[in-house]
Symmetry: C2
Subunit: 383 residues, 2 copies
């Protein structure tokens, strides 16, 4: 179980297969986010049809509603939401720090107020793992502390605490059918990232996540951090870059040896009327599309692009019809998944490094990242 096999490499880019109880995951892979046990506006049949293989769900949200005990009684998350393929849950840590109204961190854990009803709750590494054991995803995360990247003094403290919590998460984990990943922290400080990557690599995690990125740092800082971290990580374990990102971020991440990605961007942009395209990000509310009989992207073969015109999608947006969000979500997710699949094929064919610049040029127009700081971005849960 949880064997990771490298199929091919091209430079630092890797193509592999990660074996899970719900099927083999071909990497690199992009995971749609189903925060509340649903990828917003899509049925699981639609999520499968658009080509997704891994879905992420958020522990913080499911713990609060409907509750992890209820999900366990209903046969676990796969059964509850009827997603038959691999799943991943985060630890809840990021949401506690970014979403909950107030929180108090101590060495043992975090006390926080629910963003739903203001009730008080407490997560510790042991509690997060217990909740994730109840939810039952194939890949689960150690409980970590994600600190503001601009607060250097605190970054070190948070990293050291994350390391102690990683050991406690490992000790608390009780299900052999779930792979617990450790998380590398350390902000954008190369020295701290080195320490963290070495420490987390030394623990018996079957996979390693890179946390604390896509939280307000620059693109250059993200790339430099990946350049420091991924060479330290063991070759034989999958690497997961949490909460990232845009099409451009995926290209840059894969070029630097990342295997797993997730982001709310495709579905959130869809609900804000935006479509990924090689022409750049399209605002489909725009009146120029009113009589445009082309698909969103003439090179795309998703259900939306095979079936509907830009004119129809704009009409749905103007008329406030929910189908607009569904059709744009299908397209945006398919675009990300298809791009990653193309990169996987190129890695296997040995053409990845030849193509990487043209992909970057093609997708740069979609690459604006949201500028909000981590505490407001909610970038890892889709709500």
């Amino acid at each position: 179980m949880f064997e990771f096999t490298l199929t091919a490499t091209d430079g630092r880019a890797r193509a592999g297969v990660f074996r899970t109880p719900h099927g083999d995951l071909k990497t690199p892979v992009f995971a749609p986010v189903g925060t509340q046990a649903t990828v917003k506006t899509l049925s699981p049949a639609q999520v499968a049809e658009l080509g997704a293989s891994l879905v992420l769900s958020n522990t913080y949200h499911l713990y609060l509603r409907p509750g992890d005990e209820l999900v366990r009684e209903m046969g676990g998350l796969h059964n509850f939401m009827q997603w038959p393929n691999p799943m991943l849950t985060d630890s809840g840590g990021f949401q506690v720090f970014s979403l909950s109204q107030t929180r108090k961190v101590d060495e043992d854990g975090v006390t926080f107020k629910s963003h739903i009803d203001g009730s008080m709750h407490r997560f510790t590494p042991e509690r997060s793992i217990q909740i994730q054991n109840n939810l039952g995803a194939d890949i689960i995360m150690a409980f970590d502390e994600c600190a503001d990247p601009n607060n250097h003094a605190y970054i070190k403290k948070a990293m050291e605490r994350t390391h102690r919590w990683a050991e406690r998460s490992l000790a608390a984990h009780s299900r052999a059918d779930q792979a617990l990943f450790g998380i590398v922290q350390g902000g954008v400080d190369p020295a701290l990232r080195t320490v963290s990557a070495e420490f987390i690599s030394s623990l018996p995690f079957p996979g390693i996540a890179i946390g604390g990125l896509s939280v307000g740092e620059t693109k250059d800082e993200m790339h430099t951090t990946l350049d420091v971290v991924t060479p330290i990580l063991p070759e034989n374990k999958p690497r997961y870059l949490m909460g990232v990102g845009t099409p451009e971020d995926l290209i840059n991440g894969i070029a630097r040896g990342v295997d797993i990605f997730d982001c709310v961007l495709p579905t959130r942009l869809a609900r804000h009327h935006a479509a990924f395209s090689p022409e750049g990000r399209l605002n489909m509310m725009n009146a120029t599309f009113a009589r445009d009989s082309r698909p969103l992207d003439e090179t795309c073969d998703c259900y939306t692009c095979r079936t509907f015109t830009r004119a129809y999608i704009r009409h749905l947006i103007v008329a406030k019809e929910l189908l607009a969000g569904t059709l744009l979500s299908i397209h945006n997710l398919h675009t990300m998944i298809n791009l990653v699949n193309d990169m996987r094929t190129a890695i296997i064919d040995g053409t990845f490094n030849d193509k990487v610049e043209s992909w970057l040029a093609q997708w740069r127009g979609n690459a604006e990242r949201e500028k909000k700081p981590a505490t407001e971005s909610h970038s890892r849960s889709d709500s």
Copy 2:
């Protein structure tokens, strides 16, 4: 084109086939409502998968947004919304009388204010037919005046005007690939209904609609009116009972010789968390369903019931996830369509009259009709 063939009858109940440019319509048939060129929350692939064969769209809404000329430029309604099977549009008359903020009726037509932006517009029989010619549905409706059933003096005047407008609608109609149906009016007055059924039957319409019902009259009045009207109508033309209704209404309508139905109820109830079931209408927000691992209806084979528990659907509702509306719409529409299919099979088998009482008993718990008067009910457009 538009040949109607009776396959079988059982008492007054009829099973037939209506030939249209987009395929043969097996009757009796229940049409989901796609007011703004979309059956709310569903993709056309989902609408087809749940078993729908005919979809209704609203002329008033499409005229205002995106405009019938735009729909024509985009290849007509079938192409615009990518519904490949038969479609029906109403005349816009009902919405002008029920939705628009103010209106002024005269012999020539109706001037009204848009409910969207307050702009002034005018429908006449000629204009309604021109708009419906632009939209391009297989079945279109004569422009009629639907009057308050309790205003007896006015009912007669509105009926007579409807008759003159029926002749003008016929004269204005220009597309041989669209079947224009006449509309019988006359409130709940048997004498007026007789006059209207005879007059509309005398005109060369390929099908006949029964209007002015499900607008605030009692069930008994609806049944009595059908008992007066359908025996007068020609056997060789399909009969369409507009804007009706509940499962019970469909059973009663088919027993009285109706062939075509449409109603917003299944999709509107879905968005208000209600599910049709043989146990009666279920409010899926109810806490009793929180840990209920059964499907909505154990006898139903729709995607929702084959796949999801009541507990999951309740979670989606509580978490305000749009997928709840999608899954409930699929179930409620499938229930109506499946019930009508079962009745069609029984008519062909000659067992309809044996089964009608047990169907009525089974579905009575879902039969509460909304009590609002016609001018507030919006019951023929799903918004």
